[in-house]
């Protein structure tokens, strides 16, 4: 199948470094991977094309790049999953990290964030004679998150990192969960308190980009949600993030539906009254425009609220 690979090129050593797109037309088998195609380009059409790859089997995590707008491992992305008729395939370097040349990105900021979460076990007692013991259940629970190959794909497509480079990011937070949930680690509270800080676990928007693109099924956002649940369970110092989740749940328990004004007032509280005051112009404009709840400003509980409350009680009892 005659296919075009449209590759974003960039070479800082060139007088005109780019970036710019360059088209490579080549014959590809539908079962080829995008990486096969890029290697063919380098070997037969343009040996100046820079890319990073190694195992070609989705193990080493070297060939992360954006393919048709989403980050993926080039070795795991089959041409046939992108086109049946030779449509152009667009290949770009990963996002949210500096580009060194063409498709090669600088992973240094990625590793810096991984090391920020101290990705090693911190037992409190001296090492046991022999091995550390952990139950099979606890290790099975961690198997998913331990599948992470540090490819950076989740970081590339993270919507928060796009606007705020200080966010610790999905890969590092998933790695943090791996240690928070490890029964051999004894720094859980300290870890959660650190992650509770600005740019930590509460800054994730829950956009699910990382879940969608992760090539190993790690589900970084699910791990971030699990960190938040652990944080609430461990009663880490309250933040707007933790209060938002607590208050939201409490409102559903008492009304069955959301009461937006109540959520804002109780989330910010007196401590962040300034944030509430900042909302006044928007609220005034909404009222002026008639953008007010259909049933009036007081959100009454739904008629079946007793059912909802009994379910809350029963779930709590069971867990």
């Amino acid at each position: 199948m005659l296919t075009t690979l449209r590759v974003r090129r960039y070479n800082p050593e060139d007088p005109q470094p780019g970036p710019f797109f360059e088209d490579y037309k080549l014959e590809l088998d539908p079962s080829d991977s995008v990486l096969d195609g890029l290697i063919k380009v380098r070997e037969t059409l343009d040996d100046s094309l820079a890319l990073r790859c190694s195992c070609r089997g989705a193990i080493c995590g070297s060939c992360g790049m954006r393919i048709n707008g989403h980050a993926a491992l080039a070795c795991k992305t089959k041409v046939m999953s992108l086109t049946q008729s030779g449509d152009t395939i667009e290949v770009e370097p990963m996002n949210n990290m500096p580009v060194i040349k063409d498709l090669v990105t600088d992973m240094a900021p990625f590793w810096e964030k991984i090391s920020q979460v101290q990705p090693w076990l911190k037992p409190s007692e001296p090492p046991p004679v022999g091995e550390y013991l952990a139950s099979p259940e606890s290790m099975n629970h961690l198997a998913g998150v331990m599948s992470c190959i540090m490819c950076g794909v989740c970081v590339s497509d993270c919507t928060v990192l796009e606007v705020d480079t200080s966010f610790v990011g999905p890969a590092a937070l998933a790695k943090a969960y791996r240690f928070v949930a490890d029964p051999r680690d004894t720094s859980t509270t300290l870890r959660l308190e650190t992650l509770n800080q600005p740019s930590g676990m509460w800054d994730c928007t829950r956009c699910m980009e990382c879940i969608q693109v992760c090539p190993k099924g790690v589900g970084p956002m699910d791990r971030i949600m699990a960190l938040r649940a652990k944080g609430l369970e461990e009663k880490v110092p309250s933040t707007c993030g933790s209060r938002h989740a607590e208050v939201f749940t409490d409102i559903i328990k008492h009304k069955g539906i959301l009461d937006e004004p109540m959520l804002a007032v109780r989330t910010f509280g007196l401590k962040h009254v300034g944030r509430l005051l900042e909302m006044i112009p928007m609220v005034m404009q909404s009222v002026f425009k008639g953008k007010v709840p259909l049933a009036g400003p007081l959100h009454r509980p739904i008629s079946s609220i007793q059912h909802i409350q009994r379910l809350f009680t029963r779930v709590r009892k069971k867990s």
Partner: protein, 294 residues
Amino acid sequence: MKYAFFPGCVSKGACPELYQSVMQVYPKLGIALEEMTTASCTGAGVLQEKDEKLGDVLNARTFALAEQRGLPIMTICSTCQGVMSQANHRLTTQPEYLQGINAILQEEGLTYRGTTTIKHFLWILLEDVGEEALREKITKRLTGLRAAPFYGCYIQRPTEALGFEEHPDRGKALERIIEILGAEVVDFPGKTRCCGFPILTINKINSLSMVATHTQDAKSHGADIMVTPCPLCHLNLDGMQSQAASQQKTSINLPILHLPQLLGLAMGMKPKTLGLQRNLISPDLPLARIGMGP
């Protein structure tokens, strides 16, 4: 085409114009609705931060109520759709888990058998009403209006729970609707990204940066208006747009329409009937340009 209608909290709360506009358009599309007045909030992914199982119990209750009526559920909110789809995916792919949830529901006289389908109004337009029937309802094509789609995360990801494998066109449904209504699709990279609403109370600067990025990006690609199937995105993109513009020290002024508002205009309804005067960024100018005055 009859559905158990799940309006979601926001269409009854901070975005009453969404409820108003969907109430105007649905009867003319051959759709019948029974509103689920006793259903609870889906949890919106926030309650799930605290307790995912509790969220699944509440949603399983809603699914069981629809199952009792023998009706599929219709949503009008990307977030409600996504949270329900994810819950339903967990319940229908893990029989033992469903059994545990049913053990909790049974004391309320309910059992969920796993047969309820949940469909956003956007998907219903294309998959159930159908393109041909929809075209017949269009009396005033939106020719000359350049509309940028904005989906909302929960109706785009994760694709496995949203049935994209069975319905691959769902990923482009909004563009398809815009074309059917006679408007011009303005494609831009941010259309499937996050509007920033979930972190508005947590990190306002980042949240507003997202609003500014996407609205400015759509405008720079030539959009007159943006259309969204998600009222939470609407709250941020419309409600917080002027603050986002101030933060970036610029002006944006891009009207954001709810999907049924845009549809209603193409069905010949007056802007006021569709609650367009309630949108904080007025769409009067771009609508006047195509001969649709207030």
